[in-house]
Symmetry: C2
Amino acid sequence: MTGEGRARFERIYALLRSRICLLDYPPGMRLREEDLAEEFETSRTPIRRVLARLEDEGYVRSVHGVGTMVTDIDSASLEQVYRLRVELSELIGRLSPIVPDAETIEAFDVMRRRCEALAKAPDQRTFAQLNMDFLDLLMTLTENEPLREFSERLYYQTTRFWLKTVAGLERHEEALASETDYFLREISDIATAVSCGALETVGQVRRAHVAMSYARLKARARGDVLPDEV
Amino acid sequence: MTGEGRARFERIYALLRSRICLLDYPPGMRLREEDLAEEFETSRTPIRRVLARLEDEGYVRSVHGVGTMVTDIDSASLEQVYRLRVELSELIGRLSPIVPDAETIEAFDVMRRRCEALAKAPDQRTFAQLNMDFLDLLMTLTENEPLREFSERLYYQTTRFWLKTVAGLERHEEALASETDYFLREISDIATAVSCGALETVGQVRRAHVAMSYARLKARARGDVLPDEV
DNA sequence: CCGGATGATGATGTGTACAAATCCTCTGAT
DNA sequence: ATCAGAGGATTTGTACACATCATCATCCGG
């Protein structure tokens, strides 16, 4: 596969993955190959190529004679993914870190401003999108390709369950506002560390925030109300 | 995909990956879909499903109108993969370790005896196979599925370049004997730690051995002759 | 009224013909 | 002799028809 066909493949793949992670395609939803083929104005064959990759990466599961369903995840698996994410976070600063240039530093500042704007009008979908963009930016700080790839995959696996949990909360608006606030602090901390060129610190800060984010998620799923939302 | 078709898919995938990693299919070799279809007594369609996965994981690359070639790797990428492997190795003991039962302990002892037998008649292919089996056994020590999956992938990415380098050495028989010896020490150390239930130690020992293995590989690739082979 | 067989329906999996792209060879003009 | 270009051969990518499988409604018998 190469050239134009490759570009189309990547485009459809990224779009479907995005839809799954943003819960446009919620867990359990059935994706019909023919419908997708029609939407993207092609035949089933290229669609099946995309779905095959999504299945290999665990986003969907195809069953002969039934359909292709968006997967769900149990809390045990989520815990494993989060724990691995925590460990990988720190590696950003240890494996082939790239010294940030002025442009990169500016990019982090743009993120900070985007988050400040979000804090004034919290929105779940915008939050998720900002989160993804921030991860992408973080990953430009290391040249370690496999690390980038795995970090991305683990992130995409967790984000939709984070969204599902937060959306289903009793006081989900308060929770979302609180999470936006935490995220703003994370971005600020990391932006500062980046501007100093302290990439090890970036990794440690990120690790701490991923770990705390999961702790809050678990607490909220239990029904706890966090102190700052009282 | 499910049932019998799934089983066949997994079988062919594992076999082709094994052939690539054991250098039966050396880097640069062209795989013809039709030939593979004939070998496995099927049509191109299921073969393409397997090749698509192998491509997504970086083992091959398909180019329209040309063919499907087994990939090669540059030393920079190899370095990145190894450095990540070193970090992941230690996580075996930290993420959801499983307390080894008598059967597991016995399995490690079987590995040790296999390696002792190998040391008496070093053989590159047997060495590689033992290495793979040992990794599989190691991975049974953690319940962290994503960690298992990623560790496997990184290992499979490195092993064929290890094989290629060692096979191409001037004094490759001495090098192979030496590596077998190092590997025996690793297995012994880890088997001991496992029998004590000290999984953190297992991770640390493994980490050290992976790091040293890569250091030796780099040294040998430079043309150095290691002290113990003089 | 219930229960199992049975066929209709709709989904994914497979086989195959054809399209598109690349590579190699042959030809012919300069 | 060399190089440009056309054309054929080869190989992957795509479209589509059909096979296979699971589900569900229906019907018949007890």
